[in-house]
C-alpha cells in the first residue's frame, strides 16, 4: 500500500453502476445488479408473502411461499434468493404461483399453530388456503412449550422450520451455534444437541432467534406470560427507537411499551450498526427501568 495508491474511500463500497432490467407482470422493473427478484417485486410495489426471508439473514429459500414464475424455468423460483437478471420475465400472480403459495400456506396451517404468525392470516385469505382439507387426522408437530428460563420460551408447535433462528444463532449473526435443525423430514426440529435445555447449551441468550422468529415459536417470556394472561395487546403498544445503555457498540433498540411498561425489546433489522442483532444485555437487560423492587 503506497501513499499514491491509498484512498480513504471504502474500496468495497464503490457505487454499483450496473443495473438490470427485468419484466414483472409485463412491466419493466430496473434494480441494481445483485438485487433479488424479491427486491425487484418490492420496488415495483408488489406484495410478496415471505416467511423464511429476513433482510438481515442469508436467504435459505426453504418456505417457498415467495415463489414466482420465471419464463423458461421448469419450476417456480424462490424470489427471495433468485438474483434479478436482465431480460427475466416474471409472473407473480399466475395460477401456478397462486396455487403453490396457497398450498404452502395450507400445508403449514395443517401441521403448525400459525395463530401468532405475522401477516399469515392475511395471506391465507388472499390465496384461499384451507388447512382443514387434510382432515382431523393430519399429522401435526405436537410439542409441549419449553419454558426453561425467565428470558424466552420455545413452542415448537408453532415452528415452521424456516431456519431463521439457526442462522441468527450461527453464522449470520451470533456465531454461537447453540441450535441446529435435527432429524429429517416432517420430524425435523430445531434443537440443541440431544435436546439439552438452553441453559445447558451454548446459548448466550442474545435473543436474536426471538428477534427473527416469524411465528412466535421462540418468544419473549414477557410476551408469553402476557399472552397466557390474555393481556398481550400489540395494537395498544408503542414502539420507540433508542440506543442500548450498556457497552459502546451503539446497538439500536426498539422499546415496545404497553400501559407505560416496556414489554419487549427488538432491534431494527435495517440499522447499520448491528442489523437487528443484540446481546443478552441489550435484549433483556432493560428490566432495571421497571424493577420488581421499587426504584428508589
Amino acid at each position: 500500500m503506497t501513499i499514491a495508491e491509498t484512498t480513504t474511500e471504502n474500496p468495497d463500497e464503490t457505487p454499483i453502476e450496473t443495473s438490470v432490467t427485468l419484466t414483472i407482470n409485463g412491466s419493466p422493473v430496473t434494480v441494481d445488479q445483485g438485487q433479488t427478484v424479491l427486491d425487484a417485486c418490492t420496488s415495483a410495489g408488489i406484495d410478496t408473502p415471505t416467511l423464511c426471508y429476513a433482510e438481515n439473514l442469508t436467504p435459505v429459500n426453504a418456505c417457498r411461499v415467495c415463489v414466482v414464475e420465471q419464463e423458461g424455468s421448469r419450476t417456480l423460483v424462490p424470489s427471495c434468493s433468485r438474483k434479478a437478471e436482465d431480460g427475466m420475465e416474471i409472473q407473480t400472480d399466475s395460477p401456478r404461483v397462486r396455487h403453490s403459495r396457497k398450498m404452502v400456506l395450507e400445508f403449514l396451517g395443517s401441521g403448525v399453530d400459525m395463530s401468532q404468525a405475522y401477516q399469515v392470516h392475511r395471506w391465507m385469505d388472499e390465496y384461499g388456503a384451507d388447512p382443514g382439507r387434510y382432515g382431523p387426522e393430519a399429522a401435526r408437530i405436537r410439542e409441549d412449550v419449553k419454558v426453561q428460563d425467565d428470558l424466552y420460551i420455545r413452542d415448537y408447535d408453532k415452528c415452521i422450520l424456516c431456519y431463521k433462528c439457526v442462522e441468527a444463532c450461527g453464522d449470520d449473526a451470533q456465531m454461537t451455534f447453540a441450535i441446529s435443525a435435527s432429524g429429517r423430514g416432517f420430524d425435523a426440529r430445531i434443537s440443541t444437541e440431544f435436546d439439552v435445555t438452553l441453559p445447558d447449551s451454548a446459548c448466550v441468550y442474545c435473543g436474536n432467534c426471538v428477534g427473527v422468529c416469524p411465528t412466535g415459536a421462540i418468544q419473549f417470556k414477557t410476551e408469553f406470560d402476557m399472552r397466557q394472561a390474555d393481556n398481550w395487546k400489540p395494537e395498544e403498544q408503542t414502539v420507540t427507537q433508542t440506543v442500548c445503555s450498556y457497552c459502546g457498540v451503539g446497538c439500536n433498540l426498539e422499546l415496545h411499551v404497553q400501559d407505560e411498561k416496556i414489554v419487549k425489546v427488538t432491534s431494527p433489522a435495517d440499522h447499520s450498526v448491528t442489523h437487528g442483532h443484540l446481546c443478552i444485555k441489550g435484549r433483556f437487560g432493560w428490566t432495571y427501568v421497571q424493577p420488581t423492587i421499587e426504584r428508589r
Binding site: I3, T7, I280
Partner: protein
C-alpha cells in the same frame, strides 16, 4: 465475526483464553502486564525482517530512528522470556500483521487498566505507524469503549481539560466562544480527574462532591480507602437512578431518570457515532430528567439564563459550539442512523475513521505522526511468596460494571461471582470447583467461591466485579495508577488463595 467468516485472520492476545480468543487463529496467552514487551518484540521482528512500510514511515511519521534504537533489546528470545509467548508465535503474528493488506488492532481495558496504560497504548500505535495500518479503510487502531456513552461524555466536555468537542479549556479562543454563549466566565485552568479528586479528598482539598450516575463507592480500586474518603466529605450529593452504595453515603440524593428509555437526547458510541435516544416510558415516582434537575439547580444558583431548553435546543447550542458536531442535526441523526464525527457541516457524510491525513501528500499541513519509544514494565505489584498468584478482573457477557443495572435481569448464564483458577493451581491448593476460599491481596481479604477453569493459565486467576454486594472484589485491586490517563491497575494484583478451615 462476519469479518472472520469473510476470510479475516484473528490473533488474540490475552492472558486468558477468552470467548473471543476461542475464535482466534492463534491465542497468545501473554504474561499479565507484558503488553509493551510483546508489542516491542513484534516491532523489532518487523523491522529486523524488513517488513515495515518504509514509504509510509518516511512520509508520514517522525522519530523512526530513535524508535528502532529503543527496540534493540526486544529480540524474539528476550520477548519470549518477558511475555511467556513462544518466539515462533510472536514472529508469526508479526509477519501476519505486517504483511496483511489491511489490519486492525482492537483493544479494550486489558490495555488501559494498568499503571502504564499510556505506554501500552503507545506501543500499539507504534505498530500501526510501522506498518501503515492506520488512517485508511479497513486498517486502524480500535479502542473498544466499555460503556455506551463514555465517548459521548468526552465529546461533551466531561473531561477535566476539555470543553465540548475536545476544545481546550486553557485555549482563550475556545473558552471565549463558550463564554460568549453561556454568558458566564469559565475557569481558565484544567480541572482534575477522578483519581486526583480522591487524592485531593485525602488532602482535605475537596470537601464536597456532586456525583452523577457513577458508583465510586463500589467501583474504585482499593475500595475501603475510597469509601473512607467519601464518608469524610462535608457534603456528598448523588444523582442516580438507583440508591447505589455511593448514594447511601450521600447527604442529598437526587433521583434521576433512565437516560436511554425515559429521556430524549443523544449518545456517542465507540465508533464516534452520535445517535438519538428517546423517551419511551415516564420516569417512576419522584425521579426526574437529569436536564431538569440541572436546570432547576442552575436557577437556584442564580443563573436564570439557563432558561428551559429542550434536549434539541441544547443540541443545537452544542452544534454551534463544537465543529466536530456541526453537521449533525436531529433530523440527520434520525434519517442516517446516526453520524460519526467529525461531521462539520450539513453536507458532510460523517467520518468512519480518523487520521486519513497521514496518507495525504501534504499530510493535511500537519507534522508527521511521532513514534513514541516505550519501555516494558511489568505490573506495579509483583508476585511474592506471600502473594504468589496473579489476579485480573473483567466482565462477563451478561453483566455490567457493578451490576446495578444488569443485576435486575434474571440471566440463565450468570454464574455469580467466582475466582477462576486453573485446575493445576486448584489441585495444588487442594481446592474443588465451587469451594469458598479466602482471597487476600496486600490491601485486603474477601471470601468467594472458586471456579475451576481450564481456559485460564497456571498462576493466573480472574474474577468479575459485577457483584460488589456479594464479594467486595475491589478490596483487593491495586489503586496504582497511570498519571497520564488517571486509570488504576484493575488488571493486575498479587493475591493469595487459602482454603477456609471449617470449624
Amino acid at each position: 465475526m462476519q469479518g472472520l467468516q469473510n476470510g479475516a485472520s484473528m490473533y488474540a492476545v490475552d492472558p486468558r483464553r477468552t470467548s473471543s480468543a476461542k475464535f482466534a487463529d492463534l491465542w497468545l496467552g501473554l504474561e499479565l502486564g507484558s503488553d509493551v514487551a510483546l508489542a516491542n518484540t513484534v516491532a523489532n521482528y518487523i523491522v529486523s525482517n524488513d517488513l515495515h512500510n518504509k514509504e509510509f514511515i518516511a512520509h508520514s511519521t517522525t522519530g523512526f530512528d530513535a524508535y528502532v534504537e529503543s527496540l534493540s533489546e526486544y529480540t524474539l528470545e528476550h520477548g519470549e522470556a518477558l511475555t511467556g509467548v513462544p518466539a515462533a508465535a510472536i514472529a508469526e503474528m508479526a509477519t501476519a500483521y505486517a504483511t496483511a493488506e489491511k489490519a486492525q488492532i482492537l483493544w479494550t481495558l486489558g490495555i488501559t487498566e494498568h499503571h502504564n496504560a499510556v505506554d501500552n497504548v503507545l506501543s500499539l500505535c507504534n505498530l500501526a505507524l510501522l506498518t501503515g495500518h492506520v488512517g485508511r479503510w479497513g486498517s486502524g487502531l480500535v479502542p473498544l469503549r466499555g460503556q455506551n456513552n463514555v465517548q459521548g461524555g468526552g465529546d461533551m466536555g466531561a473531561l477535566p481539560n476539555k470543553l465540548p468537542g475536545f476544545q481546550n479549556i486553557t485555549d482563550p479562543e475556545h473558552r471565549g466562544k463558550f463564554e460568549k454563549v453561556y454568558g458566564k466566565e469559565i475557569p481558565a485552568e484544567d480541572g482534575i480527574h477522578l483519581t486526583l479528586m480522591f487524592e485531593a479528598m485525602e488532602r482535605g482539598e475537596i470537601t464536597a462532591a456532586y456525583v452523577i450516575g457513577e458508583n465510586p463507592a463500589d467501583s474504585e480500586a482499593d475500595i475501603a480507602h475510597a469509601r473512607k474518603l467519601l464518608k469524610g466529605l462535608d457534603l456528598l450529593v448523588v444523582q442516580d437512578i438507583f440508591l447505589t452504595r455511593t448514594a447511601e453515603l450521600a447527604d442529598v440524593v437526587l433521583p434521576a431518570s433512565v437516560g436511554w428509555a425515559e429521556c430524549d437526547g443523544t449518545v456517542t458510541s465507540s465508533e464516534r457515532r452520535v445517535q438519538r435516544v428517546r423517551a419511551a416510558v415516564p420516569p417512576p415516582g419522584l425521579a426526574r430528567h437529569d436536564q431538569d434537575i440541572l436546570r432547576d439547580l442552575a436557577h437556584l444558583l442564580d443563573y436564570p439564563e439557563w432558561g428551559d431548553p429542550t434536549p434539541e435546543d441544547l443540541w443545537e447550542e452544542l452544534r454551534s459550539l463544537s465543529p466536530l458536531h456541526g453537521g449533525m442535526t436531529y433530523d440527520r441523526l434520525e434519517a442516517e442512523g446516526g453520524l460519526q464525527w467529525p461531521c462539520p457541516d450539513l453536507d458532510h457524510p460523517g467520518s468512519p475513521f480518523l487520521h486519513g491525513w497521514l496518507w495525504e501528500p501534504d499530510l493535511g499541513g500537519r507534522a508527521g505522526a511521532p513514534f513514541s519509544p516505550v519501555v516494558a514494565q511489568g505490573p506495579k505489584e509483583q508476585r511474592t511468596e506471600e502473594f504468589p498468584l496473579w489476579m485480573t478482573t473483567g466482565r462477563s457477557l451478561d453483566s455490567y460494571n457493578t451490576g446495578v443495572q444488569s443485576g435486575q435481569m434474571n440471566s440463565p448464564i450468570r454464574y455469580g461471582n467466582a475466582l477462576d483458577m486453573n485446575p493445576a493451581d486448584a489441585a495444588q491448593l487442594n481446592l474443588v470447583d465451587g469451594e469458598t476460599v479466602k482471597v487476600s491481596s496486600p490491601r485486603g481479604s474477601v471470601e468467594m467461591p472458586i471456579r475451576v477453569q481450564p481456559d485460564i493459565p497456571v498462576g493466573l486467576t480472574f474474577t468479575t466485579f459485577h457483584f460488589p454486594e456479594l464479594v467486595d472484589i475491589n478490596q483487593l485491586t491495586n489503586d496504582a495508577w497511570d498519571k497520564r490517563s488517571g486509570t488504576a491497575e484493575f488488571k493486575a494484583a498479587s493475591i493469595r488463595v487459602e482454603k477456609l478451615v471449617t470449624a
